[in-house]
């Protein structure tokens, strides 16, 4: 994203920016959940292989 685009985002109304912050938080939570699930799956496959 260019500096100009970031400045444009900075000029959005506060309520709209907070709505986008909430979206970023939700995206980050989902990403973390997927990563954790993936790690759990790898660990359990690793354990099965070890047996």
């Amino acid at each position: 994203m260019t500096a100009e685009m970031r400045k444009t985002l900075a000029r959005l109304p506060y309520a709209e920016k907070l709505r986008r912050v909430a979206e970023l938080i939700e995206f980050s939570r989902r990403f973390k959940a997927v990563k954790t699930a993936d790690k759990t799956a790898r660990t359990s496959i690793g354990s099965r292989d070890a047996v």
């Binding site: 500096a3 970031r6 900075a10 506060y14 309520a15 920016k17 907070l18 970023l24 938080i25 980050s28």
Partner: protein, 166 residues
């Protein structure tokens, strides 16, 4: 699971209730959520509410704040209160942060009146803390916020602070 959205109106309502009950003298939203008012949106995981305590003892009235918020139906998780699923940290002010609360700007969010730090105070506070993320915030604020440079310089000078690279 937190409800969607940032419950800023509920956070302001809780702070207004604490002020009306005489538990705090004054408050203002600071930290990342306040910075977003002046910059592009970015992720944060909690709201920082700075308050001037009515109780000037060591606890700064924190137990009374928690008790009051519990009566209002809010929950707790470690150092945070949980307001509609969103973590909120209550931070007692001193020096620069107290000045930032006293000179904060009034805002209205979803029909609820609240107070928010000025951009210049957010920059000065970041300069005083000086972590990597604070230096990044200063850079972002200098680039994106419409700062009153004379006011910022006065605040920095009053608190013996310098911006990174100065």
């Amino acid at each position: 699971m937190p409800a969607p959205g940032i419950p800023l109106a509920e956070v302001f309502a809780a702070a207004n209730s604490l002020r009306a009950a005489g538990i705090i003298v004054e408050y203002a939203l600071g930290g990342a959520l306040a910075a977003v008012r002046y910059t592009e949106p970015f992720t944060t995981y909690d709201a920082d509410v700075f308050f001037i305590p009515a109780d000037t003892g060591l606890s700064a009235g924190i137990p009374a704040i928690y008790a009051h918020l519990e009566k209002l139906g809010h929950g707790f998780e470690r150092e945070h209160t949980i307001i509609r699923g969103f973590p909120v940290q209550w931070l007692a002010t001193h020096g620069l942060t107290e000045e930032a609360v006293r000179e904060a700007l009034p805002v209205e969010f979803d029909g609820v009146q609240g107070r928010i730090f000025r951009a210049e105070h957010l920059v000065a506070i970041a300069a005083s803390v000086g972590r990597t993320k604070d230096r990044a915030r200063i850079e972002q604020m200098l680039e994106q916020a419409d700062l009153d440079r004379a006011l910022l310089d006065a605040i920095l000078s009053r608190h013996y602070l310098k911006l990174p690279g100065q």
